[in-house]
Symmetry: D2
Subunit: 173 residues, 4 copies
């Protein structure tokens, strides 16, 4: 299992697709985007679910957390059942988010990957994408890495996704 | 857990979204589309993965099946961990596909739902969607239901998704 | 040129794709969705652009109208240059919206098509789509047809998109 | 009017969205992607329409060209009617593609922008996107610029979309 953590617009999804293309074995990719897509539409803009503020802030409620907990256990169960899994996540809870994964993972082997991107550059890419609330990239760029420990760190500020993916792949036995 | 089975363009996704909107508790929705999205891009057109023939036929290979097996176990684990889950699937393996789910489910409670749609109508809706290989709807309309048993059956030929969803919801305690 | 007018979730896009599939000549399809996609992201939620209220109301501002005017002239110019064009529109301005098109069309041949759908059914389909502000379908179902005149009217309440498309196609010489 | 020309995955769309965000006036964005979306589904994989070969080659047929001609005239008419328009195109016909635009533009003011990206980098970004036929980026990287003249050239190999957009914006009076 590979778990990538990085702020919005730091380039995680591009790296995931490159990892899937470069690694000879097939890897399944899941992440916070696919989890949010699985929620009822009404939870994508509610206090119990997830809310995106106009200034880029993101808040999640109790029901969101409960479902996320069960989703995490399920994803880990897929890995235990033999699937290779890549997760891209945004550790809004910082070290606590990593701890949450660690508890679910138990003794399962995992490669922790930090995906960094300078705040100003991520902000520019957020504008270039055009489909994200402005401000998320800047708000999350440093925060999500606080207190988190990694096996590998990549920085997309000056390095293309494909090269980041190759650097990560080199750490897999 | 609710498992919907029906051919391509029979209206499963619309029913799922209506179920999520109508049911007071939050339900997570997964299905063959989200599974295929999680695969490496190269498996979406390869013999080991999944191939869509020009005539609407669909074939899946060994790697696809192995990953699907693990994915199924993971989804069941999410349900065991307390999440309410709706699955929409296409039982290309007919009764054997249902058996595969049954084995993974163990003693977990599940509502089996058959989603039917007259072949000619599903074919018309396939044209109206415009993003599917022509022929899948007709090829799958009856085949996927062979030998499969249900708790509820709905037919979208003359009944709107929302009403189908309400009929299904009425079967949940 | 074919111009379809109908409320949100009345089934216009499905009919357009069926028309494109059924008609032997190639027809280009444009509409209010593709126009809104062409706008700067910031205008998709601003008073000068277009705003979607929580209750399903839609308001457009001065800049929106000015660009829409120029867009209309351009689409008509494509038809004059020999392209067959299908437009799907939502006449929020009712008869005035039709008048706006008439002025731009001049002596160009056009088939006016009304796409109706019972309010309650359109509302259910809006839930089944899951990606639209709830309330738009009901708010627009009747309003957009007030004072508008048609060459053909279709009703998607009980008729499939493909059959509606064939009824429309039958009116083309 | 601003016309951007560059190969697949050279970063045109991101620059367009940044231009729309940075420029104080509202600009409408159209391009080959929105044109292809307007075509009947059957023309997106036919000899008369457009075909994408497995090796990244792209061929267009007679009907495609005829509709593109009319579309070009219509887009120019929008600009004449007062709309500010940004086009992103792929000059598969090289200098002849520019000539085609020039004829349609007449005496209309236009800013010609070349969007370059080193072939290997564009190829990596094509993998990171995951939704394009592999090989298009490399096949088009240099070819589309042959014999074409520009007012501004930007290179996304080492420069972010937002900075490229600002460089382009600086050339507008």
């Amino acid at each position: 299992m590979i778990i990538l953590n990085g702020g919005s617009s730091s380039g995680k999804s591009g790296i995931v697709r490159c990892l899937q293309a470069e690694l000879p074995d097939p890897w399944l990719a899941f992440g916070c985007d696919s989890f949010v897509d699985a929620l009822p539409a009404r939870m994508r803009a509610s206090d119990d679910g997830i809310t995106f503020d106009a200034d880029g802030g993101v808040s999640v409620g109790g029901e969101f957390r409960a479902l996320e907990e069960a989703w995490t256990e399920g994803v880990v169960a897929m890995a235990r059942a033999g699937a290779r899994i890549i997760i891209d996540d945004v550790f809004l809870g910082r070290a606590a988010s990593q701890e949450r994964w660690r508890k679910a993972l138990g003794d399962l082997d995992v490669l922790w990957v930090g995906v960094r991107c300078e705040s100003a550059v991520a902000e520019g890419r957020e504008i270039a994408r055009g489909d994200r609330v402005r401000g998320m990239a800047a708000a999350q760029a440093d925060l999500v890495h606080e207190g988190v420990t990694y096996d590998v760190e990549v920085d997309t500020t000056h390095t293309e996704s494909l090269l980041c993916a190759r650097a990560i792949a080199a750490h897999l036995r």
